[in-house]
Symmetry: C2
Subunit: 194 residues, 2 copies
């Protein structure tokens, strides 16, 4: 990772996904890495931080998560719009070169045997909390966030700075069928929208 990637305090890690971005979910099992796009990822607790993520049985990444018990949730940017669509529509089951063909570069973080996607704005390393009933019944996975980082050009001092970073840093919010919105105007705590 480059010099802009800085650790985020765990008790503030929920802020990285609290505004509801579509995320990239990545996992590793041995020599196999995969990355998928997920709109259904959500905060669950603040301290210790937990989150939920919905992963269909048809997703190859699910098998990696179930094998390894760990995964990364990362926040892609407007600059990664095509990458996000590509990893969301291709499957490693049919395309062994999915990641290269989607423009994904993987990098490593010391102490974590996990695939981190380069160029995102934030990364949350997660450990699965086993809840077999809801995994089977709803494809719903619960995890604890065990480490977090962000790029200080867009998230620093515990806050997003979308309004001063370039537009290419904005988070992506999927509606359906490849139609996204970027995050927009800021309303600080002392502002009003009326």
């Amino acid at each position: 990772m480059n010099e802009h990637v800085k650790p985020v305090e765990l008790r503030k890690a929920f802020r990285l996904v609290n505004h509801g971005p579509t995320v990239l979910l990545s996992a590793r099992n041995g020599s196999v890495d995969n990355v998928m796009a997920v709109a259904w990822c959500c905060g669950l607790d603040i301290d210790p931080p937990k989150l939920t993520v919905v992963v269909d049985t048809i997703a190859h990444t699910r098998s990696l998560i179930e094998s390894s018990g760990v995964f990364v949730v990362q926040v892609p940017t407007v600059a990664q719009l095509e990458l996000t669509r590509e990893v969301g529509s291709r499957t490693l089951y049919k395309e062994p070169d999915k990641l290269r063909n989607s423009g994904v570069s993987i990098c490593e973080m010391a102490g974590h045997d996990l695939p981190f996607v380069e160029g995102c704005s934030a990364w949350l390393a997660c450990r699965l909390i086993s809840e077999p009933h809801i995994q089977d019944a709803y494809d719903l996975f619960i995890a604890e966030v065990i480490a977090a980082w962000a790029d200080d050009r867009v998230f620093r001092d515990g806050h997003w700075h979308f309004e001063t970073a370039g537009p290419e840093w904005r988070s992506l919010h999927h509606v359906a069928g490849g139609h996204f919105y970027a995050i927009g105007e800021a309303f600080p705590a002392d502002s009003n929208g009326g």
Copy 2:
């Protein structure tokens, strides 16, 4: 409700929350209505539509949901920023006039004994799916969406139209401490962000 509020097909109801807005959660038990703001609400399935919502035990609205088994998830707008902050910081346990003091007007929908918040952009009537273990362990509730509506000035033909509606219609996305972002620029399915 006014003449702009139109039913949304159930199989497209997930699109109302797929982009990760902070929502208003409302519920009723007998003569008692309450409304709270919730950032942790997330899609879970498309057809039939399901969603998850995280509701702390300290929230009065939780007791209403547990009693009645039904609730409404609605999507507030930039015009409702102050209302959203107010219902998120006041509690009915200490303030019986919370809703009036927060500027909330409640309206009814035929066939649903539930409190709908006027002025939102979308409404999802939900029926709790009882999962006592995850409710107790994680404050996590699973529900099926049984009916949905949207204001056709901002959502029609199965699509959000934030880019052509006025800025006061944009959804709100909470980070922390009353700091929100509105949803922003659109990237249709054939666009790229590079």
